[in-house]
Amino acid sequence: MIEQKIVKVGMADLNVISESGLIRTTGLGSCVGVTLYEPSLKIAGMAHVMLPTSDIAREGQLNIAKYADTAIPELLARLLAMGASRSRLVAKMAGGSQMFAFGGKNDTMRIGPRNTESCKAKLLELGIPLLAEDSGGNYGRTIELECSTGVLFIRSVQMGAKEL
Protein backbone atom coordinates (compact mmCIF):
# COMPACT_ATOMS: atom_id res chain seq x y z
CA MET A 1 0.00 0.00 0.00
CA ILE A 2 1.28 3.41 -0.88
CA GLU A 3 1.53 5.61 2.15
CA GLN A 4 -0.71 8.56 1.84
CA LYS A 5 0.37 12.05 2.66
CA ILE A 6 -1.57 13.41 5.62
CA VAL A 7 -1.42 17.06 6.58
CA LYS A 8 -2.61 17.67 10.13
CA VAL A 9 -4.36 20.77 11.29
CA GLY A 10 -4.28 21.39 15.04
CA MET A 11 -6.73 23.29 17.14
CA ALA A 12 -6.75 27.00 16.26
CA ASP A 13 -4.50 26.16 13.35
CA LEU A 14 -4.71 26.12 9.55
CA ASN A 15 -2.86 24.47 6.72
CA VAL A 16 -2.94 23.71 3.00
CA ILE A 17 -2.33 20.68 0.82
CA SER A 18 -1.82 20.19 -2.90
CA GLU A 19 -1.98 17.37 -5.47
CA SER A 20 -2.87 14.35 -3.35
CA GLY A 21 -3.30 13.09 0.18
CA LEU A 22 -5.52 14.13 3.04
CA ILE A 23 -5.80 17.19 5.21
CA ARG A 24 -7.23 16.33 8.60
CA THR A 25 -8.31 17.82 11.91
CA THR A 26 -9.44 15.75 14.89
CA GLY A 27 -11.89 16.17 17.74
CA LEU A 28 -13.97 19.12 16.56
CA GLY A 29 -16.54 20.00 19.19
CA SER A 30 -17.82 23.54 19.22
CA CYS A 31 -14.95 24.38 16.89
CA VAL A 32 -15.63 24.44 13.15
CA GLY A 33 -13.48 22.84 10.47
CA VAL A 34 -13.67 25.00 7.35
CA THR A 35 -12.24 23.73 4.09
CA LEU A 36 -11.65 25.55 0.82
CA TYR A 37 -11.01 23.56 -2.35
CA GLU A 38 -9.91 24.40 -5.85
CA PRO A 39 -10.91 21.42 -8.03
CA SER A 40 -8.93 22.17 -11.16
CA LEU A 41 -5.55 22.49 -9.43
CA LYS A 42 -6.46 20.09 -6.62
CA ILE A 43 -5.36 22.32 -3.82
CA ALA A 44 -7.14 22.59 -0.52
CA GLY A 45 -6.94 24.43 2.75
CA MET A 46 -8.42 23.70 6.15
CA ALA A 47 -8.83 25.80 9.29
CA HIS A 48 -9.81 24.61 12.79
CA VAL A 49 -11.74 27.67 13.93
CA MET A 50 -12.23 28.01 17.67
CA LEU A 51 -14.00 31.34 18.13
CA PRO A 52 -16.40 33.39 16.01
CA THR A 53 -14.71 36.76 15.88
CA SER A 54 -11.32 38.33 16.55
CA ASP A 55 -13.09 41.32 18.12
CA ILE A 56 -13.07 39.45 21.40
CA ALA A 57 -9.33 38.71 21.21
CA ARG A 58 -7.30 39.93 24.13
CA GLU A 59 -4.08 38.20 23.17
CA GLY A 60 -0.85 40.02 22.43
CA GLN A 61 -0.06 38.48 19.11
CA LEU A 62 -3.23 37.51 17.32
CA ASN A 63 -3.43 33.91 16.18
CA ILE A 64 -5.37 34.48 12.98
CA ALA A 65 -6.10 30.78 12.54
CA LYS A 66 -8.26 30.82 15.64
CA TYR A 67 -11.06 33.16 14.61
CA ALA A 68 -13.61 32.69 11.83
CA ASP A 69 -13.25 36.25 10.55
CA THR A 70 -9.47 36.04 10.23
CA ALA A 71 -8.85 32.35 9.46
CA ILE A 72 -10.98 32.17 6.32
CA PRO A 73 -9.39 35.22 4.61
CA GLU A 74 -5.97 33.80 5.48
CA LEU A 75 -6.86 30.42 3.95
CA LEU A 76 -8.10 32.22 0.86
CA ALA A 77 -4.88 34.24 0.59
CA ARG A 78 -2.75 31.11 0.94
CA LEU A 79 -4.66 29.28 -1.77
CA LEU A 80 -4.54 32.26 -4.11
CA ALA A 81 -0.80 32.47 -3.54
CA MET A 82 -0.57 28.84 -4.64
CA GLY A 83 -2.26 29.76 -7.89
CA ALA A 84 -5.88 28.93 -7.09
CA SER A 85 -8.50 30.63 -9.17
CA ARG A 86 -10.77 32.57 -6.90
CA SER A 87 -13.88 31.87 -8.94
CA ARG A 88 -13.36 28.10 -8.74
CA LEU A 89 -12.98 27.93 -4.98
CA VAL A 90 -15.66 26.09 -3.06
CA ALA A 91 -16.14 25.54 0.66
CA LYS A 92 -17.30 22.73 2.91
CA MET A 93 -17.47 22.77 6.65
CA ALA A 94 -18.31 20.68 9.70
CA GLY A 95 -18.42 21.00 13.47
CA GLY A 96 -19.97 23.73 15.57
CA SER A 97 -21.76 21.40 17.90
CA GLN A 98 -23.01 22.04 21.39
CA MET A 99 -21.22 19.37 23.39
CA PHE A 100 -22.98 20.03 26.64
CA ALA A 101 -26.59 20.93 26.84
CA PHE A 102 -27.61 23.50 29.33
CA GLY A 103 -29.23 26.80 28.90
CA GLY A 104 -26.79 28.86 30.89
CA LYS A 105 -26.83 32.60 30.59
CA ASN A 106 -23.21 32.39 29.58
CA ASP A 107 -22.81 33.10 25.89
CA THR A 108 -19.99 30.58 25.71
CA MET A 109 -22.62 27.88 25.86
CA ARG A 110 -23.75 28.79 22.38
CA ILE A 111 -20.27 29.04 20.92
CA GLY A 112 -20.73 26.18 18.45
CA PRO A 113 -23.70 27.68 16.58
CA ARG A 114 -22.06 31.10 16.72
CA ASN A 115 -18.89 29.72 15.16
CA THR A 116 -20.95 28.16 12.38
CA GLU A 117 -22.85 31.38 11.70
CA SER A 118 -19.71 33.41 11.67
CA CYS A 119 -17.95 31.09 9.21
CA LYS A 120 -20.95 31.19 6.89
CA ALA A 121 -21.11 34.96 7.02
CA LYS A 122 -17.43 35.23 6.14
CA LEU A 123 -17.72 32.82 3.22
CA LEU A 124 -20.70 34.75 1.91
CA GLU A 125 -18.83 38.01 2.24
CA LEU A 126 -15.89 36.57 0.32
CA GLY A 127 -18.19 35.14 -2.34
CA ILE A 128 -17.12 31.53 -1.82
CA PRO A 129 -20.02 29.10 -2.27
CA LEU A 130 -20.62 26.70 0.61
CA LEU A 131 -21.26 23.37 -1.10
CA ALA A 132 -22.01 21.29 1.95
CA GLU A 133 -21.96 21.38 5.72
CA ASP A 134 -22.47 19.04 8.61
CA SER A 135 -22.82 21.21 11.66
CA GLY A 136 -24.62 21.39 14.95
CA GLY A 137 -25.74 18.49 17.08
CA ASN A 138 -24.12 17.57 20.37
CA TYR A 139 -21.26 15.36 19.29
CA GLY A 140 -17.63 15.58 18.22
CA ARG A 141 -16.30 15.11 14.72
CA THR A 142 -13.05 14.31 12.98
CA ILE A 143 -12.83 15.51 9.40
CA GLU A 144 -10.58 14.77 6.43
CA LEU A 145 -10.58 16.36 3.02
CA GLU A 146 -9.24 14.27 0.19
CA CYS A 147 -7.12 16.50 -1.95
CA SER A 148 -7.55 14.65 -5.24
CA THR A 149 -11.36 14.64 -5.11
CA GLY A 150 -12.44 17.36 -2.71
CA VAL A 151 -14.55 14.86 -0.77
CA LEU A 152 -14.93 15.68 2.92
CA PHE A 153 -15.02 12.63 5.18
CA ILE A 154 -16.60 13.04 8.60
CA ARG A 155 -16.33 10.58 11.48
CA SER A 156 -18.12 10.77 14.79
CA VAL A 157 -18.55 8.48 17.76
CA GLN A 158 -22.31 8.69 17.91
CA MET A 159 -23.34 9.20 14.31
CA GLY A 160 -20.80 7.06 12.45
CA ALA A 161 -19.17 8.14 9.21
CA LYS A 162 -20.41 10.19 6.31
CA GLU A 163 -19.01 12.04 3.35
CA LEU A 164 -19.85 15.37 1.82
Partner: protein, 208 residues
Protein backbone atom coordinates in the same frame (compact mmCIF):
# COMPACT_ATOMS: atom_id res chain seq x y z
CA UNK B 1 1.95 33.36 27.22
CA UNK B 2 1.67 36.69 28.95
CA UNK B 3 -0.92 35.75 31.52
CA UNK B 4 1.31 32.96 32.82
CA UNK B 5 4.48 35.01 32.98
CA UNK B 6 4.11 35.36 36.72
CA UNK B 7 3.59 31.73 37.49
CA UNK B 8 6.60 30.89 39.54
CA UNK B 9 7.05 27.54 41.14
CA UNK B 10 5.58 28.71 44.40
CA UNK B 11 2.32 29.56 42.72
CA UNK B 12 2.26 26.25 40.96
CA UNK B 13 2.60 24.64 44.38
CA UNK B 14 -0.30 26.67 45.70
CA UNK B 15 -2.46 25.54 42.78
CA UNK B 16 -1.38 21.94 43.34
CA UNK B 17 -2.57 22.25 46.90
CA UNK B 18 -5.86 23.64 45.65
CA UNK B 19 -6.20 20.57 43.43
CA UNK B 20 -5.14 18.32 46.26
CA UNK B 21 -7.80 19.59 48.61
CA UNK B 22 -10.57 19.42 46.04
CA UNK B 23 -9.65 16.01 44.71
CA UNK B 24 -8.98 14.65 48.20
CA UNK B 25 -12.50 15.43 49.18
CA UNK B 26 -13.84 13.92 45.98
CA UNK B 27 -11.76 10.78 46.55
CA UNK B 28 -13.25 10.44 50.02
CA UNK B 29 -16.72 10.76 48.55
CA UNK B 30 -15.94 8.10 45.95
CA UNK B 31 -14.51 5.71 48.49
CA UNK B 32 -17.67 6.07 50.58
CA UNK B 33 -19.77 5.46 47.53
CA UNK B 34 -17.86 2.28 46.70
CA UNK B 35 -16.98 1.32 50.26
CA UNK B 36 -13.37 0.90 49.13
CA UNK B 37 -10.23 2.91 49.74
CA UNK B 38 -9.46 5.16 46.80
CA UNK B 39 -5.98 6.44 46.11
CA UNK B 40 -5.19 9.67 44.48
CA UNK B 41 -2.22 10.79 42.47
CA UNK B 42 -0.30 13.95 43.27
CA UNK B 43 -2.04 16.75 41.39
CA UNK B 44 -0.26 18.22 38.43
CA UNK B 45 -0.49 21.82 37.40
CA UNK B 46 0.19 22.20 33.74
CA UNK B 47 0.35 25.01 31.26
CA UNK B 48 -0.32 23.32 27.97
CA UNK B 49 -0.87 24.33 24.37
CA UNK B 50 -4.51 23.60 23.44
CA UNK B 51 -3.31 20.92 21.09
CA UNK B 52 -1.79 18.91 23.94
CA UNK B 53 -4.57 19.11 26.49
CA UNK B 54 -6.43 16.10 25.07
CA UNK B 55 -3.17 14.13 24.99
CA UNK B 56 -3.39 13.79 28.79
CA UNK B 57 -6.31 11.44 28.30
CA UNK B 58 -4.97 9.65 25.25
CA UNK B 59 -5.39 12.02 22.32
CA UNK B 60 -8.04 14.14 20.63
CA UNK B 61 -9.90 11.15 19.20
CA UNK B 62 -9.82 9.02 22.34
CA UNK B 63 -13.34 8.20 23.44
CA UNK B 64 -13.97 9.26 27.01
CA UNK B 65 -16.84 9.57 29.43
CA UNK B 66 -16.88 13.14 30.67
CA UNK B 67 -18.94 14.89 33.28
CA UNK B 68 -18.67 18.60 32.86
CA UNK B 69 -19.87 21.43 34.96
CA UNK B 70 -19.30 25.10 34.88
CA UNK B 71 -18.15 26.72 38.09
CA UNK B 72 -19.88 30.00 38.76
CA UNK B 73 -19.24 32.58 41.43
CA UNK B 74 -16.16 34.52 42.46
CA UNK B 75 -13.64 32.24 40.79
CA UNK B 76 -15.36 30.83 37.72
CA UNK B 77 -13.95 27.99 35.71
CA UNK B 78 -14.64 24.61 34.17
CA UNK B 79 -14.54 21.27 35.92
CA UNK B 80 -14.32 17.93 34.13
CA UNK B 81 -14.38 14.44 35.58
CA UNK B 82 -13.09 12.10 32.89
CA UNK B 83 -13.06 8.31 32.76
CA UNK B 84 -12.26 5.94 29.99
CA UNK B 85 -15.39 3.95 29.05
CA UNK B 86 -13.98 0.73 30.51
CA UNK B 87 -13.22 2.39 33.83
CA UNK B 88 -16.71 3.85 33.85
CA UNK B 89 -18.18 0.35 33.38
CA UNK B 90 -16.01 -0.99 36.18
CA UNK B 91 -17.14 1.79 38.43
CA UNK B 92 -20.79 1.05 37.67
CA UNK B 93 -20.32 -2.66 38.32
CA UNK B 94 -19.23 -1.87 41.84
CA UNK B 95 -22.35 0.04 42.64
CA UNK B 96 -25.13 -2.04 44.06
CA UNK B 97 -28.57 -2.02 42.60
CA UNK B 98 -27.66 -0.99 39.11
CA UNK B 99 -28.40 -3.25 36.23
CA UNK B 100 -25.32 -3.20 34.06
CA UNK B 101 -25.58 -4.03 30.39
CA UNK B 102 -23.06 -6.46 28.93
CA UNK B 103 -22.22 -4.48 25.83
CA UNK B 104 -19.89 -1.56 25.41
CA UNK B 105 -22.55 1.08 25.11
CA UNK B 106 -24.17 2.79 28.07
CA UNK B 107 -27.85 2.40 28.80
CA UNK B 108 -30.06 5.07 30.28
CA UNK B 109 -29.68 3.75 33.81
CA UNK B 110 -25.91 3.70 33.57
CA UNK B 111 -25.74 7.20 32.18
CA UNK B 112 -27.99 8.43 34.91
CA UNK B 113 -25.81 6.75 37.56
CA UNK B 114 -22.65 8.20 36.05
CA UNK B 115 -24.22 11.62 36.03
CA UNK B 116 -25.03 11.26 39.69
CA UNK B 117 -21.53 10.03 40.55
CA UNK B 118 -20.09 12.97 38.65
CA UNK B 119 -22.44 15.26 40.47
CA UNK B 120 -21.37 13.98 43.88
CA UNK B 121 -17.66 14.03 43.10
CA UNK B 122 -17.64 17.40 41.42
CA UNK B 123 -19.79 18.83 44.18
CA UNK B 124 -17.44 17.60 46.89
CA UNK B 125 -14.42 18.79 44.93
CA UNK B 126 -15.90 22.20 44.63
CA UNK B 127 -17.29 22.62 48.10
CA UNK B 128 -13.94 21.85 49.73
CA UNK B 129 -12.32 24.31 47.38
CA UNK B 130 -14.84 26.97 48.28
CA UNK B 131 -14.23 26.30 51.99
CA UNK B 132 -10.49 26.46 51.53
CA UNK B 133 -10.45 29.68 49.55
CA UNK B 134 -13.51 31.28 51.15
CA UNK B 135 -14.64 32.11 47.65
CA UNK B 136 -18.15 31.47 46.49
CA UNK B 137 -18.15 28.73 43.90
CA UNK B 138 -21.36 27.16 42.76
CA UNK B 139 -21.62 24.38 40.22
CA UNK B 140 -24.11 24.35 37.39
CA UNK B 141 -26.07 21.16 36.80
CA UNK B 142 -23.55 18.67 35.43
CA UNK B 143 -23.76 17.44 31.90
CA UNK B 144 -22.45 14.14 30.60
CA UNK B 145 -20.95 13.34 27.23
CA UNK B 146 -19.37 10.21 25.81
CA UNK B 147 -17.32 11.41 22.91
CA UNK B 148 -13.90 12.35 21.56
CA UNK B 149 -11.65 13.89 24.19
CA UNK B 150 -10.66 16.73 21.88
CA UNK B 151 -14.24 17.76 21.26
CA UNK B 152 -15.04 17.63 24.97
CA UNK B 153 -12.00 19.32 26.47
CA UNK B 154 -11.81 22.07 23.87
CA UNK B 155 -15.00 23.34 25.41
CA UNK B 156 -13.11 24.06 28.62
CA UNK B 157 -10.49 26.07 26.78
CA UNK B 158 -12.69 28.68 25.16
CA UNK B 159 -12.03 31.30 27.81
CA UNK B 160 -8.32 30.89 27.15
CA UNK B 161 -8.87 31.13 23.44
CA UNK B 162 -9.39 34.86 23.68
CA UNK B 163 -5.99 35.33 25.29
CA UNK B 164 -3.61 32.89 23.73
CA UNK B 165 -3.01 29.31 22.75
CA UNK B 166 -2.22 27.77 26.13
CA UNK B 167 -4.36 26.88 29.10
CA UNK B 168 -3.59 26.17 32.72
CA UNK B 169 -5.18 23.14 34.26
CA UNK B 170 -5.03 21.27 37.52
CA UNK B 171 -5.09 17.57 36.83
CA UNK B 172 -5.59 14.86 39.48
CA UNK B 173 -5.78 11.12 38.93
CA UNK B 174 -7.79 8.61 40.95
CA UNK B 175 -6.66 5.07 41.39
CA UNK B 176 -8.14 2.20 43.25
CA UNK B 177 -5.53 -0.37 44.17
CA UNK B 178 -4.66 -2.45 41.16
CA UNK B 179 -8.23 -2.29 39.88
CA UNK B 180 -9.07 -0.30 36.86
CA UNK B 181 -11.03 2.52 38.35
CA UNK B 182 -9.14 5.39 37.04
CA UNK B 183 -10.55 8.80 36.58
CA UNK B 184 -9.19 12.24 36.16
CA UNK B 185 -10.30 15.59 37.43
CA UNK B 186 -9.51 18.65 35.40
CA UNK B 187 -10.07 22.01 36.93
CA UNK B 188 -9.57 24.75 34.40
CA UNK B 189 -10.05 28.04 36.22
CA UNK B 190 -10.89 30.99 33.97
CA UNK B 191 -7.84 33.16 33.38
CA UNK B 192 -9.26 35.93 35.56
CA UNK B 193 -9.82 33.55 38.48
CA UNK B 194 -6.18 33.04 39.39
CA UNK B 195 -5.80 36.47 40.94
CA UNK B 196 -8.89 35.76 43.05
CA UNK B 197 -7.63 32.38 44.20
CA UNK B 198 -4.17 33.68 45.10
CA UNK B 199 -5.56 36.71 46.82
CA UNK B 200 -7.92 34.61 48.89
CA UNK B 201 -5.04 32.45 50.04
CA UNK B 202 -2.86 35.41 50.89
CA UNK B 203 -0.36 34.84 48.11
CA UNK B 204 1.17 38.11 46.98
CA UNK B 205 0.58 38.79 43.32
CA UNK B 206 3.02 41.52 42.43
CA UNK B 207 6.70 41.59 41.57
CA UNK B 208 7.60 37.98 41.16
Amino acid sequence: MDAFRYFKEFKMDVLKEVGNIGAGNAATALSRLLDKPIDMGVPKVEILPFEQVADIVGGAEQIVVAIFLRVEGEAPGNLFFILNPEAAKNLLRRLKGIDIGQNDSFNEMEISALNEIGNILAGSYLSSLADFTKLSMSPTVPSLAIDMAGAILSYGLLQYGEMGDDALLIDTKFLEGTQEIEGQFFLIPDPASFAKIFESLGVPLEND
